[in-house]
Symmetry: C2
Subunit: 193 residues, 2 copies
Amino acid sequence: MELLKNRIVEQGKIIGDDIVKVDMFLNHQLDVALLEEMGKEIYRLFSDRGINKILTIETSGIAIACMAAQQFRVPVVFARKVKSRNISEDVYTAEVYSFTKNITYPIRVSQEYLNADDNLLIIDDFLANGKAVCGLLEIAEQSGAKVSGVCAAIEKGFQSGGRELREKGVPLKSLAIVDAICDGKITFRDEDC
Amino acid sequence: MELLKNRIVEQGKIIGDDIVKVDMFLNHQLDVALLEEMGKEIYRLFSDRGINKILTIETSGIAIACMAAQQFRVPVVFARKVKSRNISEDVYTAEVYSFTKNITYPIRVSQEYLNADDNLLIIDDFLANGKAVCGLLEIAEQSGAKVSGVCAAIEKGFQSGGRELREKGVPLKSLAIVDAICDGKITFRDEDC
């Protein structure tokens, strides 16, 4: 998505050779006009899949998921990152390892809001090692829901998550794939995602 | 807002005499069609205030803030709830006490995204004791920004936050004010908010 790639180049903050911060428009301040266009692009990519619900994870996935949901006219369910590992019978749960924070945290979705009749699109802001998406896929599997699409706004193509998911047959498309960050310059993957 | 009040009655889960859970449409699953209408109502209430930015707090404020921002055509900034109290010079910060969790946690906004030229609308999902809104007002004050409106989706009128804020002259309007929960029945405040 050219609009997003341009914005990443213009307003992303590059730290070292592997971090691009997009707090200016996606992770702290939200440019809602840009997010609307991202929602439309996600609809263009996945509108033929019969999606009836969007699954995301707090915090930064929520805004993008809502904008896409406006196009699909479906509800959003967001997984909560929780502190306690207390067993509760009415939730689906998975463990997610965060490389950034070097911690494993549980995520949860109430069983009330996902079930075997659902046909899901999973949306998240960043895809790097893919652990958050794997957690969401695990939760979907527990619920019996079908996953007909996975969409990351920004995929770090130089980390392994995207490749591993595609190799497993997960229907992943990313709006922008950053293939390399070198000397402060970002290279995007050319292919049409 | 009748649409929201009706939805609270139909889908809210009442626990005891002081809790109404709205996970079905606002706090876990998000009914984006309803949120859009809430965004339009917030615009109707505050459109004459010259708002140039919406300030909210993660997690559940984000979706409502985005829907309102679509109407105002302004960006959203969301305060982050952070764990560490490490001093950082480039953030505004405040402490928020949560009665539900009985903890005080710091919230933060990068100085980059708020300044004295801003004219803010503060939005949150619930207003009970008003501590989150007070934290956001404190952050706004640190930045020098003007606050021209505060909007809660659901105010618990039987707790003191709303009254205290109004007595201080804070321009607060809530979309639905729950005045009492008694024997599983919700009474809303009649006045037009």
